[in-house]
């Protein structure tokens, strides 16, 4: 076997051994006997920090710059000193909110910002690529050395592919909601032991096997003038390297992953606080000795490779092989963990928010996500390979330092996020963006220029000859290149973070999350009222099916069952409180699987817009709309809406226009806008026009949470016509009816941006918005839908349905403008087809006249047909009163009861159903309001004593005045009903004959106007003849239970 192949075989064998260890660890975890959940394994896993950079690069650095290599390990040591206060805080927060990456962590803190998640992911990818390149260069160089200088083309590529495949095996076998990989952690801990052992053995061999001890090496190195400078320290460079390695210790993607995500118990941090620094000390103990030995022996080749070159050149092949395994181990761990961590971040923060828009239901989403993650892992390794080709001239440490400076750019946002409530999203974006740009300019551009990809003149004289902008010496401050990069990037980053945070106002969501982060350890945190956005609760099955879509059905079911068991409730007995808790948990689970940004998108579909008022306008309120009413305006709807929301009203805009158009047209900044869009585009909240239940629930929750709201709907015609033949007519009717009822019983105003034609108004002025009543009877095809629904109910409730169809069509054809004309196929008659012109407009009164007529005809053919029983469900559903079906317009009815109770109840029911009512009564209007909900404006109080102006009243002997008031009412009302109570009082104040004549004249007027009059009679207060004469003027009303 050739030497390179032997090296590959060795490497593959080692990787297989690691796979076995990982497999064993996963199996043990499934059996409930985790081998990873102990502090020693945790501390060893942190040693993934020591990569090929440590194994090879530190030696090269020590040989060129002396003690400076130690800064890379002093930084993490200092970071672990803050382990109990800072790292434990990060771990606690991440567990609490199920944050599974550094991008998740930062994005969640700053208002779950998609932009921040994307920036951090991009930074992390840029951090990892040079690092992976470093490992690939190190492994391929070490292969070449132990192969005796032999190599073949593609060594590095083969190594990259091998590592990519193993990274997929280790980190992407399944989707875990908490992104924990015990197998991976076990493998990393084992690797830490292997690399430390290999390095210490190699160091001991070189120090005592080749030389006479540490002192001899140091003496010989420092006595050589060429190397005597190595003991000196550049304090500025020392500080800046310590600083960036401090940040790298917990912000490098792999470090965050093993330190935070894979942490099984916070108490493990205690052990890690001294074990990890001790590990760093031990693994660096022999670095000066090996570097010195290499210089003394004048080992050929790059200084980075001294640790493997020295034993190989001494003929100690087994030790060289051990060192090779140690180095490969160090590099492999880094590539495995980083590619998995960054692959996960790329999926959640960059890809999934876009995939979400286009993934249809029914797709195997968990499978798709897993494959995407695998592709990302391979992509990270491939990009690292490409980078390694571009920069292989550089020392390993220089390649690595580029990554460290990049990772540090997350430092201000993280530290600020942990301890400063005022740290805001704008600050984090500004700071990280500026830091990132300066990092590119001061660290990446020089690297690329030296590789020949950019002109060298940029490093010599600056861009366009501006020497103050030389990337490695900005503004001529004469710092070493790394300090130059660290200083300017972090200075700009931190300054802008603070400045923009102070200038911006955090959203309520950000404030809650800031409080949650800063006070995570505080006991009083539980008492802080955390405002929850209202969500559509749905059912347990809906929660489970939503969760299953993203993590698989079985996992979703197990999680929901576990949650219900935790809540101590069964699926059948779950209530709104439990559902709220379930949703909270679901959100956290999804955050763990899909990341903060994507979860936000999903959950926001369930979250309704929060009522918010715009900034107050300077001009006075132009349009006065009354609460609980519906208005329409074709041309001025947006103007009216904007007028309202800029004068203290909380607005909700539901529109078919793109939200950005609406915002720019109306100058709306805060008002939530829902886009009625069947396709998912952009990031605005969207609801499909066909999803009327969700639209209604969204509006309903807004109405219920606003104090004085106004809703603009643009427009109802679009909603109704878009759903013609798409969804059942009943769904459209339900939506409109529920919307009308909702508005009428709340403080909200509804503005429809609809044309008068659609709404059913003719010759309407556009100066003011026009109030609409009874939308379901006038808007577009809704009257035909309603008629059809009622008629179908009648047909379904009779024993002679064919006859009922014929009766219905016959009645309809007698009504002009309702039945369909020539388009109707006569052969279709009698086959269940109801022919209704969808353009028909019908008043409420006319509607019930038709229904009554049909019911009466059907009753003749089917004596057992009970119209009240058959139609009651529909009447209740659409908020009508059953008495509308019974009471014939133009009729006066007598309600005989001792006390006037049922008559007031029926009257109240009718006016709340939407009829225009007038109540003439002996009772105080205030008491009628309290007892029956009858507004005093609808009451004429029969009394001789009253306060001027307080209530409408009339002297019981003043019949002309009373007549005149009734006539006025009948003239104005569209669908009038009058209740006459107090007949006995009228009789005692005047006489029976006068009252009878009065009743007769009103009866005639009611008949003429097509109104309904209800007259309460106490039969015991009249003698038989008087009662009989009165009853002769009226019909008896059959009271329903």
């Amino acid at each position: 076997m050739s030497a390179p192949l032997f090296a590959f075989a060795l490497m593959v064998s080692y990787l297989l051994l690691l796979s076995l260890i990982a497999y064993y660890a996963d199996r043990q975890r499934q059996a409930g006997r985790s081998i990873v959940s102990n502090p020693y394994v945790y501390a060893l896993s942190l040693a993934v920090y020591c990569t090929a950079w440590t194994f090879y690069g530190s030696i090269g650095r020590a040989a060129t710059s002396g003690l400076e290599f130690l800064t890379i390990y002093i930084g993490p040591t200092l970071a672990m000193l803050l382990g109990w206060v800072m790292i434990r805080k990060i771990v606690r927060i991440s567990k609490e909110y199920r944050l599974t990456s550094v991008s998740d962590f930062i994005s969640f803190r700053y208002g779950r910002s998609y932009a921040i998640g994307a920036i951090v992911t991009a930074v992390s990818l840029m951090v990892v690529i040079p690092y992976v390149a470093l490992q690939l260069i190190a492994i391929s160089s070490s292969i070449q050395i132990i192969s005796g200088g032999e190599s073949f083309w593609g060594t590095r590529l083969v190594v990259a592919v091998l590592l990519g495949i193993f990274a997929i095996i280790f980190g992407a076998r399944h989707l875990d909601p908490m992104e924990r990989h015990e197998g991976l952690v076990a493998a990393v801990a084992f690797e830490s032991i292997v690399k430390l052992t290999a390095f210490v053995i190699a160091g001991a061999y070189i120090t005592w096997g080749i030389f006479g001890g540490y002192s001899e090496i140091i003496d010989r190195v420092l006595s050589t003038e060429e190397f005597s400078h190595l003991i000196n320290i550049d304090y500025t460079s020392w500080f800046s390297l310590t600083l960036i390695s401090f940040f790298a210790a917990f912000l490098l993607p792999r470090q965050f992953h093993v330190m935070v995500v894979e942490n099984a118990d916070e108490s493990h941090i205690r052990k890690a606080m001294w074990l990890f620094p001790l590990y760093l000390l031990l693994i660096n103990l022999f670095v000066p000795a090996i570097a010195g030995a290499g210089m003394i022996l004048d080992v050929p080749g790059v200084k980075d490779m001294f640790v493997i070159e020295i034993p190989y050149s001494m003929g100690n092949i087994p030790l060289a092989a051990l060192v090779f395994i140690g180095g490969a181990s160090a590099a492999t761990a880094m590539v495995l963990v980083d590619s998995v961590a960054v692959g996960h971040m790329m999926l959640n923060e960059l890809e999934l928010p876009y995939l979400m828009r286009y993934i249809g239901r029914g797709r195997d989403l968990p499978g798709l996500l897993l494959n995407a993650k695998r592709i990302n892992i391979l992509l990270v390794v491939v990009l690292g390979y490409i980078y390694s080709r571009a920069v292989e001239y550089q020392s390993l440490v220089d390649i690595g330092l580029v990554s460290f400076v990049a990772a540090s750019q997350m430092g201000p946002a993280v530290i600020g996020g942990l301890y400063w409530r005022k740290g805001s999203r704008e600050g984090a974006i500004a700071g990280m963006s500026a830091g990132f740009v300066l990092w590119i300019y001061t660290a990446l551009v020089p690297t690329v220029a030296r590789a020949g990809w950019l002109s060298q003149s940029i490093l010599d004289s600056g861009p366009f000859g501006i020497s103050a902008l030389i990337p490695t010496n900005l503004f001529g401050v004469d710092l070493d290149p790394w300090t130059n990069s660290v200083f300017w990037s972090l200075f700009a980053n931190a300054s802008l973070y603070v400045l923009f945070s102070l200038m911006s106002t955090p959203t309520p969501e950000e404030r809650v999350e800031a409080e949650g982060f800063v006070e995570i350890f505080s006991e009083r945190r539980g008492a802080i009222p955390i405002e929850r956005p209202a969500i559509r609760l749905g059912t347990v099955d809906e929660v489970e099916s939503m969760l299953a879509r993203y993590i698989g059905a079985e996992k979703a079911r197990m999680l929901i069952d576990a949650d219900l068991a935790r809540l101590g409730v069964s699926r059948e007995r779950v209530d709104a409180r439990h559902l709220l808790d379930l949703w909270d948990h679901v959100e956290r689970v999804l955050t763990g699987s899909l990341g903060t940004s994507t979860t936000r998108i999903i959950v926001e579909e369930q979250i309704t817009p929060r009522p918010v008022a715009e900034r107050m306008g300077a001009a006075p309120l132009k349009f006065r709309l009354e609460p609980g009413k519906i208005y329409f305006s074709a041309e001025k709807a947006y103007e009216v809406f904007t007028d309202q929301v800029t004068h203290g009203f909380e607005g909700l805009c539901v529109t078919r226009r793109p939200p950005e158009d609406v915002r720019s047209r109306c100058g709306l900044r805060e008002t939530p806008i829902i886009w009625l869009n069947p396709k998912r585009e952009g990031r605005e909240k969207q609801i499909s026009p066909a999803n009327l239940p969700l639209l209604f629930l969204t509006i309903k929750t807004f109405v219920e949470t606003s104090r004085k709201g106004v809703i603009l709907l643009d427009n109802l015609e679009h909603l109704v016509l878009a759903n013609e033949k798409v969804i059942p007519e009943e769904d459209v009717l339900d939506f409109v009816s529920q919307l009308e009822n909702l508005i009428h019983r709340t403080n909200t105003r509804l503005i429809l941006a609809d044309s008068p034609d659609f709404i059913g108004f003719c010759g309407v002025s556009e100066v003011e918005p026009v109030e609409v009543k009874g939308l379901i009877f006038t808007a577009g095809p809704l009257p035909s839908y309603l008629l059809r629904a009622f008629i179908l109910a009648i047909i379904g409730g009779t024993r002679s349905p064919e006859a009922a169809v014929d009766i219905a069509n016959s009645v309809l054809s007698e009504q002009s403008g309702i039945a369909e004309g020539a388009s109707c196929d006569p052969d279709m008659r009698g086959m269940g087809l109801i022919e209704i012109d969808t353009r028909c407009k019908i008043t409420r009164r006319h509607f019930f006249t038709i229904i009554r007529r049909i019911c009466a005809c059907v009753s003749r053919t089917d004596p057992g047909f009970d119209s009240v029983k058959v139609l009651r469900p529909l009447i209740d559903k659409y908020g009508f009163s059953i008495y509308e079906l019974i009471l014939n317009p133009g009729t006066t009815y007598a309600i005989e009861e001792d006390k006037p109770v049922r008559c007031f109840e029926i009257f109240s029911e009718l006016i709340h159903a939407g009829l225009d009512g007038l109540c003439i009564s002996r009772y105080n209007p205030e008491s009628l309001r309290e007892k029956y909900g009858i507004s005093p404006e609808r009451v004429i109080w029969l009394t001789q004593k009253t306060e001027e102006g307080k209530f409408r009243s009339v002297d019981p002997t003043n019949f002309p005045r009373l007549s005149s008031m009734i006539s006025d009412f009948l003239r104005r009302a569209e669908y009038p009903v009058i209740l006459m109570e107090g007949i006995g009082y009228l009789i005692t104040q005047s006489n029976y004959e006068t009252v009878l004549r009065f009743i007769q004249s009103q009866r005639d007027e009611v008949s003429l106007r097509g109104a309904v009059m209800l007259v309460h009679i106490d039969p015991l207060s009249l003698d038989t003849k008087e009662l009989h004469r009165l009853e002769g003027e009226m019909e008896q009303l059959k009271l329903l239970s």
């Binding site: 205690r270 001294w274 620094p277």
Partner: protein, 70 residues
């Protein structure tokens, strides 16, 4: 007035102080105190100093861990 170390390690301020002291010990000007030319136990004084501070930090964290597990 009583002085007690009970609960000392649980206080954030102590760790911040320890961190500041460690940063100071690891950097200029304190780092410039050990001579680059002198030796202690065969090691350059400067290197010895760095390793010593390092060990002190490890010891400090070890004591904290031991107290927590007692």
């Amino acid at each position: 007035m009583t002085i007690s170390t009970k609960g000392l390690f649980e206080q954030i301020e102590l760790w911040v102080l320890a961190f500041i002291i460690a940063v100071a010990l690891f950097n200029w000007p304190l780092l410039s105190i050990p001579s680059p030319d002198e030796r202690i136990l065969g090691f350059p004084e400067r290197l010895f100093y760095i390793l010593l501070v390092w060990l002190l930090v490890i010891l400090w964290a070890y004591i904290f861990d031991r107290r927590g597990s007692m």
